[in-house]
Amino acid sequence: MGQTLFDKVWEQHIVNQHDDGSVLLYIDRHLVHEVTSPQAFEGLRLAKRKPWKISSIAATPDHNVPTTLREAGITDEIARTQVEALDSNCTEFGILEFGLDDIRQGIVHVVGPEQGLTLPGMTVVCGDSHTSTHGAFGAIAMGIGTSEVEHVLATQCLIQKKPKVMRINVEGNLAGGITGKDVALYIIGKMGTAGGTGYAIEFAGSAIRSLSMEGRMSLCNMTIEAGARCGMVAVDDVTLDYVKGRPFAPDASQWTQAEAAWRQLHSDSDAVFDCEINLDAANIAPQVSWGTSPEMVVSITEDVPMLTQARDSVQHEGWARALQYMGLEAGCKIRDIAIDKVFIGSCTNARIEDLREAAAIVKGRTKAASVKQALIVPGSGVVKAAAEAEGLHQIFIDAGFEWREPGCSMCLAMNADRLEPGERCASTSNRNFEGRQGLGGRTHLVSPAMAAAAGIAGHFVDIREWK
């Protein structure tokens, strides 16, 4: 019987098989940011331990960093202390860090792939649930808690039970303007936010193969919103073309050997999955979330559901609560929802392709007067520089959008970028939870083009009709 992609990478990383069915799994890449690491480093020091493999670790501050001018440093004292703790921990242990003054600084899930720190077939962990992003490279990539961050620092391993494996096949052609983000939201809408719990998910099919690496990263990024810790896409030419020549990728002397190994990273034709779902790409329209969970999502052409459509009393209660929080009427049209702010950024959608898609919508137009603020936050200093070289920043600035420094920003609003109570945002981030973008803030998850178009029109529009 053939193996799945997940099985292949998993088997290559088994250090020891335990009698109870768990394994000791070797970790190739450990990405670190300021929020979930200080307690792990402190634990290491208290136990007089050292990181096992320094060269496997790379760090960058992202959650807490300001996106306005950096010269002033971080004015929030508690946030500054945390970023300084990352700096001093990296210095103390000799860990590679892209600090605030480094052009390579940015959102850890943008920086890893961009620098070639994320490679096909790796096991990648980070103290952040959106580590699933890196599965786009045919890697097993998963978010871990701080205790496990310490565990990986100390031992280079994790104790893991093999999850079940699901394959989601999306066959056919995606319509123009439909992105990896729309595919992700569509799948979550179908499966629910607990639909993938206990699974690793492989995304396959012709529609997935047609996505760029940026699109695949957006898709795998939101696997966690479907409940699965890890999402994957098989390695192909698109993957290899992206990786080749990146600063930390294998150089010419090792490329042939690496490529030969990576070419094996796909599910065998006779591989058997614990669960398989087939979807038709033609059914996927631009998606807009309406509620306070990513599963509360519909197409732009649809209406906010009626409470009578809920499947049971628990969902009925959840929807009623969400509608009240979001200030929406059941049955209202998505296109009629007016927005106050736009946020284009986050580990889901802050890569160069995302900014290009947004700029194409914005070019030659102006932000609606009713929209108070539209933020463009590049995923890294490298993305920012690339966008500026293409003139994208000027397109945004001319349209009345704000061009910012890289970081997580208003995705989770740990820094000064946030919604005020009652404000409604078209956001390219990944979570629409209550308070996620600021106390009382109302988030609608969309693709970059959809967010940009909402910023111009002042309400949601179908970008397939954008002229």
Binding site: Y26, V35, Q39, S129, I144, T197, S293, L412, G435
Partner: protein, 213 residues
Amino acid sequence: MDALTIHQGLVVPLDRANVDTDAIIPKQFLKSIQRAGYGPYLFDEWRYEDRGEPGMDCTHRPKRQDFVLNQPRYQGATVLLARENFGCGSSREHAPWALLDFGIRCVIALSFADIFYNNCFKNGILPVALDDAAMDQLFTACFSQQGFQLTVNLETQQVSTDSGLQFSFEVDAFRKHCLLHGLDDIGLTLQEVNHIHAYEARRKNEAPWLFQA
């Protein structure tokens, strides 16, 4: 980490599905570099009328009286009931830290998000998943009886009431062992150090690009 064998305590019912870790501990409190001190900010946006900030003294903050944790009958609760997909979202271990700091030692829900579930065991909190019928019975009993208590026995893997309700739950043998004895699993993994070295030696030949300085 404190061991947990048998725990008996007052139960608080949080009758919601998809309770996310942003709700359990909002982002502004993640700026701390400590493991302790998050209890006063547990469910901050649901518990208080105002916007909480790190370091704030919570004793005089205006409380939302309709939120279950603020109701007098549930003060001192150590067991939390919830519905499907508890702890979804962010991997922040600050969520179990906040629950523990508040005094919660056991969360009983229809299901849990994977990362949160795992994080609980690392911090001496027992997450128990029970089926729909059992959860409905527990919620009903908790709403109807003042001072409703549960006994959670990790050894026998059972949740029970004085009135005779009893439910069995599943738990992974290794996690159970660690929680019963309060074990640090880094120490356990380091007993396998020879396996790790042997793996690295082999892997360096297969994939040398993973071992560059």
